[in-house]
Amino acid sequence: MAYVRPVSKTSWYLARRSYTVHMLQELTSIFVGMFALILLWGISAVAGGPDTYQAFLDSLRSPVMVVILWVSTVVMFYHAVAWFSVTPKAMPIQRGEEFVPAGIIAGAHYAAWFVVSLLVLLLAGVF
């Protein structure tokens, strides 16, 4: 029988830093899902009328929500950076014999992300 190296099913991701980072990146999805539900909550509040919407805005100001939103902000930026940083591996582009350099593919994503964010902030009336 072939030798099988024993690997813990519940703590393997603590064995190496890169595994731990990977697991943390996977867990950012908790906040992605949670924020999607906050958006759903906001949409339902708009459908409910001005009073319901005002109650939604008031709920956002509760200490618990403020903490959740601060953590979400940090986690969401981390998710974006981590996601775009692997785009050269996830979608390598070949031109002739050569592959387009990883920095260009990831850089194009970062640039597009910056432009999209700026546009949304402008349209939202933040500036």
């Binding site: 697991m23 924020f35 999607a36 906001g42 805005l57 956002l60 100001r61 979400s72 999209v116 009336g125």
Partner: protein, 113 residues
């Protein structure tokens, strides 16, 4: 069939990851500003109602919420497996179930605006 399902769920996961990477940081920032009592103009009821009355915006909003939920459900499913939880059937049913319910509810409320 199983292979088709896998590719299908993975494509939703990848689309959700990309879309949320592009728009969620800035959207969370806008909601965070509101939570601190400095809501940008767009967070006013009339502005938000007008915005969500637009059909293109409705479709974009539904697509964003739906893909984010599917992304989270799929990624949490594999992460929980990685953390040693072996109840994959239940995890998948709950995760995809919440994603489906959230998608249907989002569509329902958007249609009321």
């Amino acid at each position: 069939m199983a292979k088709i399902n896998k590719a299908f769920f993975w494509s939703l996961f990848a689309a959700g990851g990309t879309l949320t990477a592009f728009v969620f940081p800035v959207l969370v920032l806008i909601v965070l500003l509101s939570a601190h009592g400095n809501p940008p103009e767009i967070m006013g009821f009339e502005q938000m109602q007008r915005l969500l009355s637009n059909w293109l915006v409705k479709i974009a909003a539904l697509g964003t919420v739906a893909l984010a939920l599917w992304h989270a459900a799929h990624r949490l499913r594999t992460a929980l497996h990685g953390l040693g939880l072996r109840a994959d059937g239940a995890v998948a049913a709950i995760g995809y179930g919440v994603a489906l319910l959230g998608t249907v509810l989002t569509a329902y409320y958007l249609l009321q605006i």
